[in-house]
Symmetry: C2
Subunit: 210 residues, 2 copies
DNA sequence: AACTAATTAAAACATCTGTTTAAAATAACG
DNA sequence: CGTTATTTTAAACAGATGTTTTAATTAGTT
């Protein structure tokens, strides 16, 4: 494997586990069995490495999500909100196969990106991959046309928060759940449970605001 | 004002804004206009300072939340989920008055605590303030008795995620919303919008899992 | 094989981190 | 006032951080 990919793989896991600020380049390079200077040689800086780790996922995910959402928008029957959110499941789970050792860390990284480093990652994603967002809001608008644009803005961000936060602490939660309910569970099981939740949240009746 | 409080106030704002890892003691002490060594003198270590910042909020909030939830549980009429979640509003907004310069940073700090520092803050809160959690689950069980304990466990964590995540990035979101919809909005307005969302999410119909 | 370009390696860089030390200043109390 | 105790100060500590430099190695090309 190339040095570049060895760095990306190690950074991926460590960033997801300990955050961007919480992971040093020395941890990454020693985990990857490469020289410390290799990061700055291949990526320029730590910030660029973070972008590269995220881009590896987004470049794979973005077209798939857009395709799935486009399919829903063009369907004959009016889609339900459950349909819209379910469109995310397959592409997200597909990331896991495409990863070597089990589950992908993408959603955990997304959670890190929202809180770590004062939102520079949010800027990166919304400017580099804007189509995912616009297609998504379009799909929701078809499924729930009564919802005003502003109300939708908020509910979509609530949803984003639910998903990202849940996945970024999913390991700990799965551990607790398995202890308390001795119910075998994995990432797919968590997703199965969160979809009805967010669908119901977005579909909540509209309330007046003064 | 005492040195101890000057440190707590400065740390509060900086921790909320840049995270626990992202804030150095030197930033805190220079913002607070006190000597660097004062932190270790008064609190012992940075970790203890973090606990102190959180305890200041929790010691104020915890009894109020428990009282509000107890009131709901003992009411004659069966409370709705909306009632249960609304019980959080007043105590949370009360934190703002009790703060000098505007809105409290409590929920932002809570968000930091879940992602930063590998969940040691979650351990701290659940062990130091367990009653809030048990009272809350009791209230939800009364409002929605059909929900199994496991399903409730998940939905409450989804809710936690929604709230915490939303509030930890509320400033940025409010900015965006005000630009796009020129609608004056503050923290209270965001809370007003998130309550129906989470209430609907928790109240979502039960789905079979294999 | 010989020369050039790309990569790796070890070391040093300056800066920042939390914490500790020891002296100075202030407060409290008999 | 004089004597403790408490608090503040400046300085230094040891270690970690991202980045750069310079030399050694490897790969690619003619």
């Amino acid at each position: 494997m190339s040095t570049k990919n060895k760095i990306l793989d190690a950074a991926d896991v460590l960033f997801a586990d300990k955050g961007f600020n919480g992971t040093s380049l020395r941890e990454i390079t020693s985990q990857a069995n490469v020289n410390l200077a290799a990061v700055n040689y291949h990526f320029g800086s730590k910030k660029e490495l973070i972008k590269a780790v995220m881009s590896r996922y987004m470049d794979e995910l973005s077209p798939q999500l857009e395709a799935a959402l486009a399919l829903i928008c063009q369907a004959e029957e009016k889609p339900s909100l459950h349909d819209v959110f379910s469109a995310f499941i397959e592409p997200l789970l597909y990331l896991n196969e495409f990863k070597v050792n089990g589950t992908s860390t993408f959603l955990q990284l997304l959670g890190r990106g929202y809180t770590d480093s004062q939102g520079f990652l949010r800027w990166f994603l919304t400017t580099q991959y804007p189509n995912v967002f616009t297609h998504f809001t379009q799909a929701v608008k078809i499924a729930y046309p009564e919802l005003s644009t502003e109300e939708m803005f908020w509910r979509l961000h609530f949803t984003m928060g639910t998903i990202v936060f849940t996945m970024s602490s999913s390991e700990a939660l799965i551990d607790i759940a398995q202890n308390d309910f001795d119910n075998k569970l994995d990432i797919a099981g968590v997703i199965e449970r969160v979809i009805p939740y967010v669908a119901a949240g977005v579909a909540a009746p509209i309330t007046k605001h003064n």
